[in-house]
């Protein structure tokens, strides 16, 4: 038998034939292979992972029941998972959406990301190297070591939906976050109304101009006027002819967030404020390391995995933070006022630009984060741009507890048509999010 034959026999899991055993007796290399295989087999059971973390099933249920709708499919491997909206089992239909929920969560995620990026930027740095990176990292470490802080956030996320230059072609609504589609549709109707009015005015002006030309020509009797009476220039209308009205290149919808609260840098962010597109609705956000719970006006808590947003990888977990911080090496300092500019490249390719202000104690007092990206739908033209300003104060401030009405959430789940209306996870999921 050759070496390959022997090794194939060994890895097959079948009884080793006598010829192979004989080969092993005289071949050190294959014997070493066999010993390595034996060690691997003996060590394999030690790779069995421990039991899942507490509350995993609750969080799974919360994420699934708050997930976006999608068509039923035999192929369960090709979906973009953004569990922010409810879905009916089997992908049948769509449940009612909360007001701006998806956009809200994007903003909330971005806010949490802002804070966590700042708080986590202390790792893997050489403290003896006084580069801007190191100064910024040290500031983040000091801020994080304070544990908590008061926080104020102001930010906007703008969704830009391209418009085809054809009035009969509406925008690609499918590429717009569900919660914003009504706004985009309304904007499209306004755009079309304005376009129709512009077309009407243009036609009116053209008619007037043609009327003036007719008047000039009609002033001559008989056939074409004799040479000396011809106008030196062709008759012109009193006003130039209007140009063809055109559609705007895009429709923009901006979600604005203003909120304040407190943050515990290692586990959660709590905000209370307002959010909205045209009118601002009350908002409560509780963001953990990998989960965001959002409550808007008139609704109960909804929990979504933070991974759903474009910045999700930043707050997906400690390792994700390390990756994000590891790429945040493009740091420049503005000498006046201790302002540092930096960039973070998210693994999905999104680049965030930031500015951080430090106080006299070398702690972060303000962070501004801007970034742009696509809306997660391949081929779709819709893009987003986020601009967030976060102010930190009172380091070491206590973090207020966040009550959640678990009984209410469970009662809603128990109702017969819960799947069509449940935007809420099991209470324990919310509680787990809050407790993190």
């Amino acid at each position: 038998m050759t070496h390959d034959d022997v090794r194939a026999a060994l890895v097959s899991g079948e009884p080793v034939p006598a010829a192979a055993r004989e080969h092993l007796n005289r071949c050190d290399a294959c014997l070493a292979f066999a010993q390595g295989l034996d060690r691997a087999r003996r060590a394999a059971p030690m790779l069995v992972p421990a039991a899942p973390p507490a509350g995993l099933a609750d969080r799974v249920l919360g994420a699934v029941l708050a997930a976006p709708a999608g068509a039923a499919s035999d192929d369960v491997s090709d979906e973009v998972v953004t569990p922010l909206h409810p879905v009916l089992p089997g992908g049948r239909g769509r449940a009612p959406r909360p007001f701006h929920q998806r956009a809200l969560i994007r903003v909330a995620v971005a806010v949490a990301a802002t804070l966590v990026v700042g708080a986590a930027a202390f790792v893997l740095r050489d403290a003896e190297d006084p580069t801007p990176e190191v100064v910024l990292a040290a500031a983040a470490r000091r801020t994080a070591e304070a544990g908590t802080a008061k926080v104020r956030v102001e930010g906007t996320t703008t969704f830009v939906v391209p418009v085809a230059q054809d009035p009969k072609t509406p925008p690609d609504y499918a590429s717009v976050p569900e919660s914003l589609r009504a706004h985009v549709e309304e904007q499209w109707r306004s755009v079309m109304a304005a376009f129709a009015e512009a077309m009407r005015l243009a036609q009116e002006q053209i008619d007037n101009a043609l009327g003036q030309i007719d008047d000039v020509i009609g002033g001559f009797t008989g056939s074409y006027p004799p040479r000396g009476q011809r106008p030196s220039q062709p008759p012109r209308p009193a006003r130039p002819l209007p140009s063809q009205p055109s559609l705007p290149e895009s429709i923009r919808t901006t979600v604005t967030l203003r909120a304040s609260g407190d943050v515990s840098f290692t586990d959660r962010l709590r905000l209370n404020g307002t959010v909205g597109v045209d009118t601002e609705a009350d908002l409560d956000v509780v963001a953990g390391r990998d989960v965001v719970a959002v409550r808007t006006e008139g609704s109960s808590w909804a929990v979504a995995e933070a991974k759903a947003g474009p910045l999700s990888t930043v707050i997906g977990g400690p390792d994700a933070l390390l990756r994000a911080v590891g790429s945040a090496d493009d740091v420049t300092a503005v000498v006046e006022g201790r302002r540092y500019s930096f960039r973070v490249v998210i693994p999905d390719g999104t680049t965030l630009s930031g500015e951080a202000d430090l106080d006299d104690a070398g702690m972060l007092t303000a962070v501004r984060l801007t970034g742009s990206g696509r809306n997660g739908i391949p081929g779709a033209g819709t893009s987003w741009h986020t601009d967030l300003r976060v102010r930190l104060s009172d380091p070491g401030a206590p973090v207020a507890p966040e009550p959640v009405d678990v009984a209410d959430v469970r009662a809603r789940l128990a109702e017969p048509d819960a799947a069509s209306r449940v935007l809420y996870p099991l209470g324990a999921g919310v509680r787990a999010a809050v407790a993190r």
Partner: protein
């Protein structure tokens, strides 16, 4: 088919009809199995939890398409394996520094588990799945093939390649050809 499997299939039908509690039962019943596969494959708690959630989300959307040809657990683990393999393919290859690998190899009392863990990370995603399902989690070759959605011969080939690489990695003095 066992009583539990029959029960699972009934739960899937009820869940497909909108019974949230039936789906909750499925999640609670199979989260552990799905977790173990995800955690074994991804070697990271957070990534594994994301994969578990993706798995159940995809399953939830596809409840109406479950035909009952395989056990529900096999179906869920199959989805999970695909989720994990996709994620692994998107990751950068995991590289163990030469110095570290050499230190592990020459250490007088090497920790086989650590060494095996590092070697498993170097496997291609499909091979990693085959090894973990069969040699670590105790699935039969047939179950693993069903989970992988591949013929049994393909599964055996992947498993053989994985074992070869792991044996070479854990061989006491290296393996010559």
């Amino acid at each position: 088919m066992t009583a539990a499997a029959t029960d699972d299939a009934a739960l899937v039908r009820r869940a497909a009809g909108g019974d949230v509690l039936a789906f909750e039962t499925l999640v609670r019943r199979h989260t552990d199995a799905v977790w173990r596969v995800a955690r074994s494959m991804l070697r990271d708690d957070f990534a594994a939890e994301e994969a578990v959630q993706d798995t159940f989300l995809r399953a939830y959307r596809a409840l109406g398409t479950f035909r009952g040809d395989a056990a529900v657990r096999t179906w869920l683990v199959s989805i999970c394996t695909r989720v994990c393999v996709d994620r692994l393919r998107l990751r950068r290859p995991e590289v163990v520094p030469l110095e570290e690998a050499a230190a592990r190899r020459t250490a007088p009392d090497p920790d086989d588990r650590v060494q095996l863990d590092a070697a498993v990370r170097g496997l291609a995603p499909d091979e990693r799945a085959a090894f973990l399902l069969v040699d670590v989690l105790g699935y039969t070759s047939g179950e693993a093939a069903a989970v992988a959605g591949a013929p049994a011969s393909t599964l055996r080939s992947r498993l053989g390649r994985a074992r070869e690489q792991l044996a070479a990695a854990l061989a006491p003095a290296g393996v010559e050809r």
